[in-house]
Symmetry: C2
Subunit: 521 residues, 2 copies
């Protein structure tokens, strides 16, 4: 398989043939417009500038100045990244891509870059959708440190169900190393195949399970981080009240405080019991109320994904008035049919119609199959000038109606302004007792050469609506460079000052991912 330099995943998996025809047919029905296919430029045609820095002899063997390498590390995988790549618009590329073989190499790379004032961008799978790995560091050299060689599970403690794992391992290779021991990290973000443990930790990734142990934050036992002033190694502890949590400072630090090299992660046994169903609702408000009841029930479903009517139509092929709640329960220890039955009862209490408990869940399965193809389909649409992107947030239940209305209206108005029309859909990715994490998708007809400007207008409008109606600017996509304006407003000012002080202490030369989370020094 060949990793795409410009788009999602593997070149061999791109949308083509019948899948492409069906996709374009669906899109034509939603967002009319010309659907001309555009080809990505070759790397050679990009005309990348010469690297501004060169590695010392001791590190030269780790560093690549290959244009394909540099191009593949210039952007993340957001819609705006893919479109810029398709246009050959790579204004900021790393000068070198370094691939440390071990932690010593990471230390040596940071030492060199600290001495020389070279910016360092820690790079896992590069699936950032917020400009988190893009070297917008004007006027200085940039080395992107790709951790792909740190890809091993080093120790497994089956008694405590935990493993010491190197940060650069990709999801599938991580699970493959755990499988012989009958354990799993059970962390499956949509990016699973093309993202790494270190990336998940640095960005506070959310897995695809709806409740309980799904956020990478809660799966961490200890973290090891190389900072410019030394290695930070927390202890393996199942719980500790000894001062503010060291791990929680590095979780979400997005490469600005250090380079995560390994972590002890909590594992789970592989599930043996499963039960799933979907419930149809004629009314969206009733569907939300049912979802809230389940989120507050303590049943803790593995899946509790409320699709609104548009999402149901596009991704599950079902016409429904209010929405579909896709439910699943799992356990490695005990049967879960009783849990599903109780959740179905809560659906019926709110006017929902759950599928039979043992029925094959066609709707849910269709949706799940669609889920894994979405990033590839987004790229196919981008090549046809369709604006297709997602954004996400979380809010308390009491705010949800207001936020949902405001965000949906903001998206529609913005799409009307820049594209004449468009569709916005909503699903919940996670639910908490105190609120949901709504995830929105937009589809609008674009004009080739203008789709980034069109999207940026939409994104600014919806971000503003999120910020002013009780949402977070990101629930699990991180801050990067693109969310900074809203993040800066969201976080408490004294905390921002404290974080900047912590950063300055750990990274006195200001080399680590400048411009992410904090202003570049």
């Amino acid at each position: 398989m060949t990793r795409s330099w410009w788009g999602w995943g593997n070149v061999e998996d791109e949308v083509r043939g019948a899948e492409l025809e069906a996709l374009l047919a669906r899109v034509r029905a939603l967002v009319p417009g010309e659907l001309t296919r555009h080809e990505p430029p070759s790397v050679a045609a990009l005309g990348l500038p010469e690297p501004r820095v060169s590695a010392p002899a001791s590190l030269a063997s780790l560093c690549s100045a290959d244009p394909g390498d540099r191009a593949a590390h210039a952007h993340g995988k957001a819609f705006r990244d893919v479109v810029r790549n398709l246009h050959g618009d790579l204004r900021h590329v790393p000068d070198l891509v370094a691939r440390p073989r071990d932690e010593h190499d990471v230390v040596d790379l940071l030492d060199w870059c600290t001495r020389e004032g070279i910016a360092v961008i820690a790079f896992g799978g590069g699936s950032s959708v917020v400009g988190g790995v893009e070297p917008r560091c004007d006027g200085r050299g940039v080395v992107t440190v790709d951790l792909e060689r740190l890809d091993r599970v080093l120790e497994i403690d089956t008694t405590s169900r935990a493993a010491r794992i190197q940060a650069g391992v990709f999801g599938p290779h991580l699970e493959a190393q755990l499988k012989p021991h009958d354990v799993t990290l059970r962390h499956f973000p949509q990016s699973f195949e093309f993202s790494t443990l270190g990336g998940w930790l640095a960005t506070r990734a959310g897995g695809h399970y709806a409740t309980l142990y799904t956020h990478i934050d809660d799966l961490v036992e200890s973290i090891r981080v190389v900072t410019p002033i030394g290695i930070s190694q927390s202890r393996r502890l199942p719980g500790s009240g000894a001062g503010p949590s060291p791990d929680r400072l590095f979780l979400g630090s997005e490469g600005t405080l250090g380079v995560i090299t390994e972590a002890w992660m909590r594992l789970q046994e592989r599930p043996r019991w499963r039960a799933k169903a979907s419930a149809h609702f004629a009314d969206y408000a009733a569907a939300v109320a049912a979802t809230r009841a389940i989120a507050q029930s303590g049943l803790n479903p593995a899946n509790c994904r409320l699709l609104d009517a548009a999402e149901s139509l596009i991704h599950a092929g079902v016409t429904v008035g209010g929405g579909i709640l896709v439910l699943a329960f799992e356990s490695a220890d005990h049967p879960v049919r009783g849990h599903l039955a109780r959740a179905a009862e809560l659906c019926r209490d709110h006017g929902g119609e759950p599928s039979a408990e043992n029925a094959q869940d066609v709707v849910g399965d269709t949706w799940r199959a669609s889920f894994l193809r979405m990033p590839y389909q987004r790229d196919a649409l981008a090549r046809h000038s369709v604006i297709a992107e997602t954004f996400e947030t979380a809010c308390t239940w009491d705010q949800f109606d207001e936020l949902h209305h405001a965000v949906t209206e903001a998206a529609r108005q913005a799409m009307y302004q820049v594209a004449g029309t468009g569709v916005v859909t909503c699903r919940f990715t996670h639910v908490y007792p105190d609120g949901p994490a709504p995830y929105f998708s937009v589809y609008a007809p674009g004009r080739w050469g203008s789709t980034i400007a069109q999207w940026d207008h939409i994104k600014a409008a919806v971000s503003e609506a999120i910020a002013t109606h009780g949402g977070t600017i990101t629930h699990h996509h991180a801050v990067g460079r693109d969310h900074r304006p809203w993040y800066d407003r969201q976080r408490p000012a004294p905390f921002a000052a404290a974080l900047a002080a912590a950063k300055h202490t750990l990274d006195p030369a200001g080399i680590l991912n400048p411009g992410v989370l904090l202003p570049a020094q």
Copy 2:
């Protein structure tokens, strides 16, 4: 009711009469020695020095220089605090006790103290057992800021199940304000009656439930903190991946970064279904294995407290070879007898004998009744020169046997050295999939006037054993001043530097609880 200035809780609730006789009889059987009762000195006899600072006119009405007030705020409620009080040994007392009426008063107090370089100790219920509220701040004036007037539930959002609550409210008054709305914070540390929300947040308190939503950390939606450079207010969010969590920096900050004035807290419905049982084990290792199996089962018991043989004897009145596992399940939504049945099955798989599922749980109930009297009994024993104190930790399951053996042996050897004999018991307060939180109690005969030195020797020995065998120096008792030597070794050095930088930025004059978590500036 009258709060004791020198010991735990209310004067009217102290151990006396038949309870005292029975307690002393039990202790005589365990730790032989003289049991003479000593009386606490009167406050007048303490001869406190005159306050070194006086409040400006604008703040004078908030501040008390009353000797009883100052004495009651000089120490926490550890064994060494109570004994020092009994001896009239109050070397460090606050110069003034300030009781702000609202947040403005807190801001004004911090402004004044910042200007004058006066140390500020935020004080909730004063139940610290680690020197967290003791003004060991040589050479400078000290104002203890007692938040007891900030005692209201300000808003309740029953849709999201959350409430905005002032930090100075004590446990019972907090629950009393929630009860009319049929919700509960469901956070019941052993100190519940005499500790406050702000104290729980500042020290990362653990509730008495064994699993899931029991730590105050996980019940927080947002926190409001007055720092010397401004007010930090995080947003109400059920989840957010926007940078490192602001709340997690203040959780566990123990009054060193700011004064917590209020928080939005997650609530729960009051449980409607309950099931409980106890399982006897002939073998401790088998009991630990059963407890681990339940902790890793996903059943998430409300109680899962493994008492070792000595703990079973002393606090549940039962003679058993290995130990007793006290189990309970609760839910507001669905019956939990099935969960208990599965947990009982796991006990039987490991050789345990669970009580009948619907039987009255006499053993568990006896233990629970004993639990609430323990601090009062500790004080009664301290008055009779008995060394009676607890310490706690957490470790991964793979480390537990080694840690348990090392700590138990260290305690026994230390007691042998300083007291000739002694008893050490162990229970689990919390269990996680990756490890337990063992809680140890020691009882040894002391000599009046020497019991602190005797205890300090024991404490140093067990802390060393914890630190070198994979434990945390504290799971839920916090760091304060007394755990500093081991905390300093435990936390990663780069994190310590980052925390110090954050502290210096938020508290430039270094007035906030100097010496706690970090060296005094």
